[in-house]
Structure formats: C-alpha cells, structure tokens
Symmetry: C2
Subunit: 143 residues, 2 copies
Amino acid sequence: MRYTIGQVAKKLGLTAHTLRYYDKEGLLPSVKKGSSGARIFNDEDIDWLIIVECLKGTGMQLKDIKKYIDLCQKGDSTLATRLELFKQQKRQLEEKLAQFQQYMEKINYKIAYYTEAVAKGSVDVCKQNKCLAAEKERLFGHK
Amino acid sequence: MRYTIGQVAKKLGLTAHTLRYYDKEGLLPSVKKGSSGARIFNDEDIDWLIIVECLKGTGMQLKDIKKYIDLCQKGDSTLATRLELFKQQKRQLEEKLAQFQQYMEKINYKIAYYTEAVAKGSVDVCKQNKCLAAEKERLFGHK
DNA sequence: TTTCCACTTAAAGTTCGCTCTATGTTTATG
DNA sequence: CATAAACATAGAGCGAACTTTAAGTGGAAA
C-alpha cells in the first residue's frame, strides 16, 4: 500500500509540515520520492513513524531518535546497542509512570479538597477537616 | 519556617533562576520580600510550588497555571471552577497514562524483537518468528 | 484550458520554558 | 574590615519542535 504525505498525516494525527520537518531532520530515511518529487510512504514507513511517536512520547528527543536510526542503518552489528536503548527507554517510562501516580494522588487530594470546599461554600472550612489535613500531610510531607 | 530562594531551589530540584522566572510570570503570588529585597518563602509557598510542579508535570502550560492562580485569588466564588479544573486535569492524566501503557507495549515488543535478534545475530531471523509477527500485527494494526 | 488541490523547497518566525549575562547590593565569614 | 557567597533586576540568548511564509510544480476535474 502506498500513501501520500497528506494521507500519512491524517492517519497519524500529524501535519504534512511536521512530516516534511521529520524528513529534513533525517527521521524518515526510507521514504522515497516519485518522479514529481512527492514523497511516497509505505506500510513500513507508517510502522516506523509509530515507533518515532512512541520514542518521542516517552521523552526521547528527535536528535536521539535520529541516533537510533543511524544505529538501525549500520546493520546487525548494532543489535545489542539497540536492545539496550529500548531497555533504557522502558526504565524511563516506568519512572514517568511512577511520577504520574504521585501527581494523580495530589490531584485526587485537590479534588477532595475542592469538593468539600464547594459543598461548604468556603475554603476555610476545609482547613478544619482532619481527614483532608492528614492526607495533605501524607502527600506534601513535613516541612 | 522561612526559606531563601536558594533553599527552596535545592528542596524542589529547581534553580533559583527558575524560581525568579516563575515569580516574574506571576506564579508565586504569595511570596514576600524582606527589607533587602530578597524573597522569603514559607511552607505554604513550598506546597504551592509542589502543586505548580504537579500541574506542569501533567501537561499544563505555565500561562494556564497562572490562570488557576488568578482563580484562587478571586476567592470562594471560583471554587467550582477550580474543582472542575482539577477534574479535567485528572482526565488528561488518565489519558496520558493510557497512552503510556500503549507505548510500554510497543517498547516491550521491541525488547522482545531485539532480544531475539541479538540471540540469532540478525534481524532477518526475527521476521520469520510467528509469535513476534502476531504481536506486531496486534500492536501496529492492519494497514 | 483553466482552475484547483496537494504536493515541493528554503528559510524565516513562533512558542515554550528556561538559562545566562551584566551589573549591583546585601549578608555572612575569617 | 575585607572578601566571598547569595541575593537582586533587567534583558538577551538558547534549544526544541514545530509552524508559517513565499514561491513554485504536477496532476486531476469541469
């Protein structure tokens, strides 16, 4: 299956501008061009873009994604390095997940706090609520 | 308890520069200044900065955090709006968490793929592995 | 054929969140 | 009392990832 840049953009929720920018940055090494100069994407390019989005979404910078591409193009001698790269990325993702859990607890505290405040019509009442105070102590620690 | 900008920076893993920048942007409305002009932080300012980091970490831009501050300063009439803001932020965080789960699956696939490739010494072998192919199909979908 | 749409390049511009520089004042230490 | 550390302001600079602009090409529909 062949795709134009516009079709790929739509499929992946990016803009054609962004895809051209990625290409310029060397992130799309296997995308070919037709006689008119238009880029022609295939299914493997889509798969590749999904991995790019995955690495980007887990916090990798474009220049480091580029380095991964360079490893891929060097062939089988870089397999172990590439494996290590994904293991590292997994560790980073796990850290981010743990961080998000902590953010979630704080947001849940805030929701409980404001729910109480809205019910009572004032923030002052919340400050007397022992349960909320204990939760705040737990989440924000002793100073 | 009182803190200087340097102590707060250390406590929260930020720089004094960043804290001054936040102040300039109006993100630290309750920080006072001493006779020499030096900022004086207290425990509530620390709590507040923890919430700022939480909102920032869950994807809120500084200008939108500023809007939340403005709501806080308008008093109890904005309590419902503030509650809604945190509920919205919770939904966004849940979406991000779900997104991260999907990234994790793709990364796990890549780890399995490269583990196999390293064991066999070549990527070509992986493409014949039915199990990996099925997983790829599941994660990357039909095109 | 004309008109329109999607594509092209090259380069400048934008936004975000800092980060650094220059210059100066205050405070703590030996 | 001198010096060094930590604070201050104002404003310039930076890196990342786009985003937009300008000017043009190619191919299909009316």
